[in-house]
Symmetry: C2
Subunit: 407 residues, 2 copies
Amino acid sequence: MYTEVPGGVCAAKGFSASGVHCGIRPNHPKADLALISADVRCAAAGVYTTNKVCGAPITVDRLHLQDGYAQAVIVNSGNANTCAANGVELALSVCGLVADQLGIQKEDVLPASTGVIGQPMTLTPFEKGVPLAVQELTNEPSGSLQAATAIMTTDTYPKEYAFSFTLHGKTCHLGAIGKGSGMIAPNMATMLEFYTTDVAISPAMLQKALKDVVPGTYNQMSVDRDTSTNDTLLILASGLAGNEPITAPGEDYDVFYQALTAIAEHMCREHAGDGEGASKLLVCEVSGAPDLTIARAVSRSVVTSDLLKSAMFGEDANWGRILCAIGYTPGDFDVSRVDVRLHSQAGTVWVCENAAYHPFSEEEAAKVLKEKEIDILVDMKSGSSSAKAWGCDLTYDYVKINGDYRT
Amino acid sequence: MYTEVPGGVCAAKGFSASGVHCGIRPNHPKADLALISADVRCAAAGVYTTNKVCGAPITVDRLHLQDGYAQAVIVNSGNANTCAANGVELALSVCGLVADQLGIQKEDVLPASTGVIGQPMTLTPFEKGVPLAVQELTNEPSGSLQAATAIMTTDTYPKEYAFSFTLHGKTCHLGAIGKGSGMIAPNMATMLEFYTTDVAISPAMLQKALKDVVPGTYNQMSVDRDTSTNDTLLILASGLAGNEPITAPGEDYDVFYQALTAIAEHMCREHAGDGEGASKLLVCEVSGAPDLTIARAVSRSVVTSDLLKSAMFGEDANWGRILCAIGYTPGDFDVSRVDVRLHSQAGTVWVCENAAYHPFSEEEAAKVLKEKEIDILVDMKSGSSSAKAWGCDLTYDYVKINGDYRT
């Protein structure tokens, strides 16, 4: 149904990208400025952090997306442009630079920033970097990879993904780049995520799809339960796939919505699996829950328990910690029928039945927990709702990375 | 006002205690059974975990405290008696053993357990241990210390405290023993806390005082945001101090309530400072909050942020993480006027003013953060409510302790 294709955000028709070095952080050699540019004005939508401390670029994104259209995204790493005087002015000036260079409206440029909070930032590096980024724009896969690399902070590898799918006989594409290794690492703050698609869809339906996909995907993903000041997910839809534009709910919308869910789930796995210091990806799948809210909350509780995360690092089948995390999940539900299984490509071990010990071989459990991806399967046996959550283990390296970040 | 005295739970008139080894865990040499016994039937009260998975002893405590009176507390470490078949029956049998030995009513015995969840437990070790514990009972300070030692799991030292204070000219005592190094470590589950006092007070007022003190103290204390299945706080009041019994709100109740708050705050510092793997005690004091709920929530957010906890371990004055944690605290409040200062016995550094960088010397900050207790002072400048929260840093050792617990 979805065919993986190369090219990330350059896979969809009408998009090019680049990543360059412009020196946001003095004496820091890493590429730090990414540009995504569309050939046409795109329907566009965004979702943002719920943190009351909020990066200046997000204020500008909200402003520039009021009409539901955009044509370019400009992203810097190295400075979050948060808690800084004149942050909004600066972000607006950056948009102006991009607009001038691309010959588009300033209001069609969406800015994003990630990096240290509360540090002074100036326009100077952008004055050099934006023209360079425009010059480097390409719709080849290399453009997406360069952009994905330029937005990285503590990520250990650039994150990008794209696939094609069919909508009423038309081949469409959906692609993404993203960065973020903690839900937040405020010194190198943030999860940033940028999607491009060539599907023709109205701004209203695009915004609806994005808003509906996030609760079951990004909001179910956590490295450390900290919500960044700069979290941003933006999508641009060029409409160049030639499909009948999606302007209302219906079959076409559902196809697009499923595709959006698929790419979001893929990216969640990437982020959680590359969590700061992580050695394992944890996926908790809850089934048999009385309702969706409880299913989501229970799965989140499990993958965010520091005790369980530490146990998974230690490859210890400590099912009591899973039950405990389920038990302190807010909401009114019965825990007495909970079954828990630990699964990986090495096999499945049934460790808990009806909230009590289910006899299992420690040796087999150890084999299962040796793998890089551990699925924690929770059957609540009290309904038909299900949900997933993505997380990672808690390791020495998490503490190391975050204990000594600014130096 | 409060004069520290030796003796922990044996400091108040009418109480004796002991701690012995009875072999709850096979081949485990540590003392594992504690007994607190009162000369008279005591007004008694308890608060318990809100976890839906709940230890069997808590069920029995609720039952035995229906009449508001008790005369003994029996506590084992090594097994949580949680998620085990016949757990309640077993806890009742243990109460029976104690009652027989002490010549009191079975319904006046309160059980508590801490240790591995979901492991089989039998009466056998108690049959040997309870008579031994009764035989060892003493009202000397050594009795309290032995009891405090017997209930320890991952604690690095036994926790006890007592002070005297004056109530209408009568000298009264309030003492405590406690264990717990994580809010939960389900393998060695739980925070357990036992208070004794010789104040004369009705069961209803005792329960009210306990319930009112917990939200501002124990509920503001966290090592890892995990809530145990067995958390229990019990208090016994012998009434032997000779004060006019407290049976209604008023001046005497207020004096007792303040004393209870003082001992609870002291014990919170002990637990948080001895958090699993902790190298530092963190205390967040919020002032100028619009209301008490927000003050408490903000201070809790700060001391529970893994990112901030890691930064404190690294002695990094990363104030952006404090602001970020404040920003994602639920509730409707303004962050734009927040000031943050870092304080320790080495001095005070003002790091953030009106939610933005306040120039400070990194060298001075490093000096402040070298200390063992770090106070994070947050002034929201938007009201007159204040609150405290207690936590600890996140260290390599936390991961080590919890990554490999059962082995």
